[in-house]
Symmetry: C2
DNA sequence: GTCCACATGTAACTGGTTACATGATTGG
DNA sequence: CCAATCATGTAACCAGTTACATGTGGAC
């Protein structure tokens, strides 16, 4: 039950239409909670039906015509409730680690190329995050309400740093490894 | 499409019944690919129907009676194919980061306690991984086919290390932060 | 012989994915 | 007026989740 809350957060930061939300998810919020436009439209309809958001009054909506939403007090209250509520961490799921474990059984043939590709992707993502950090959080002047956002970005940077390092180690290991079956 | 391959890997490591698999997923493989017993039974039925695995011949199965499976050549081939195939990384999804971003909008009230709880959970997981490392990979004697398994374990250790560090930083931040709305 | 743990399984639901459909607006 | 693009939406499917059902065998 996280997508509706991701949308509420985005709409509180700025009222938007479905497509605008989709684009914003492709950038900032999508870095840790991705969503397609179909998901977003479906969820916007639910949130509106539930009385959490409404279409901006100035507009009468029709298919094919842009419809912007804003958050109602009930929506803000629900978001605050959800943010504070205790939630168990979801069990980890990582395909790459699974594949490495499988490779330990059926052999590593063909894996190396894809590891290189992943390494490249993570390097690029890391560069993107670091660029955002330089731009939005220049050293020495974090406004108090920006501190949390910076913290979230740091998580992204550190995670990508971890993956680039781990993939490099893995590839080095492959160099040594006698080619199995 | 990862669960069937996780099961094939587990069955190649050792032929097992559904419940045994469930228990093994709760331990080792579940650390990066969790599954419930319902998922596992459903998937075992599919894999058997597809000719990838079979019940060990010695047994005639009945409801309530244990049924062990082993991997057929087609299953091993499919696993090797899947391991080598190129796959895009799945977009990141992390509820905790989402909640922090929401907190930047609706305030941090109530969040701190849950962050502490998560920190404790990650510390415990880290300790568990390190215990496994001490036990299964004593320094200086990695057999070649253990190197990949060790690499996977290192990923788990480094990820948990990251989370404990990040959560500590976050909590420190909270100490400083003027309590918002 | 009854209860409990073991073991396998069914059913209904939810969230995410993929493919496609439809209407409005704009540039040529 | 036609094609391309913007914008919203429908439908079918699949994997994961939750709740419950059914059968077996051993402990008491």
């Amino acid at each position: 039950m996280s997508l509706p809350h991701a949308i509420l957060t985005a709409l509180l930061e700025r009222p938007s239409s479905g497509l605008e939300l989709t684009r914003r998810f492709d950038r900032s919020i999508g870095y840790f909670w991705s969503a397609t436009h179909q998901q977003i439209y479906r969820e916007l309809a639910r949130l509106e039906a539930g009385g959490y958001i409404r279409t901006l009054p100035a507009e009468q909506p029709a298919r094919g015509q842009r419809k912007s939403y804003e958050v109602l007090p009930a929506g803000r209250a629900e978001l605050a409730r959800w943010t504070a509520a205790s939630q168990d961490p979801k069990p980890q799921r990582d395909v790459l680690l699974l594949r490495l474990r499988a490779a330990a059984v059926v052999g590593t043939a063909g894996l190396e190329a894809d590891l290189r590709r992943h390494l490249e992707l993570h390097r690029r993502q890391l560069a993107e995050y670091e660029e955002i950090e330089r731009r939005d959080f220049p050293p020495g002047k974090d406004a108090p309400e920006d501190r949390l956002r910076h913290l979230v970005l740091r998580a992204g940077i550190d995670l990508e740093t971890f993956w680039t390092r781990w993939l490099s180690d893995a590839l080095e290991e492959f160099g040594d490894l006698p080619r199995l079956p």
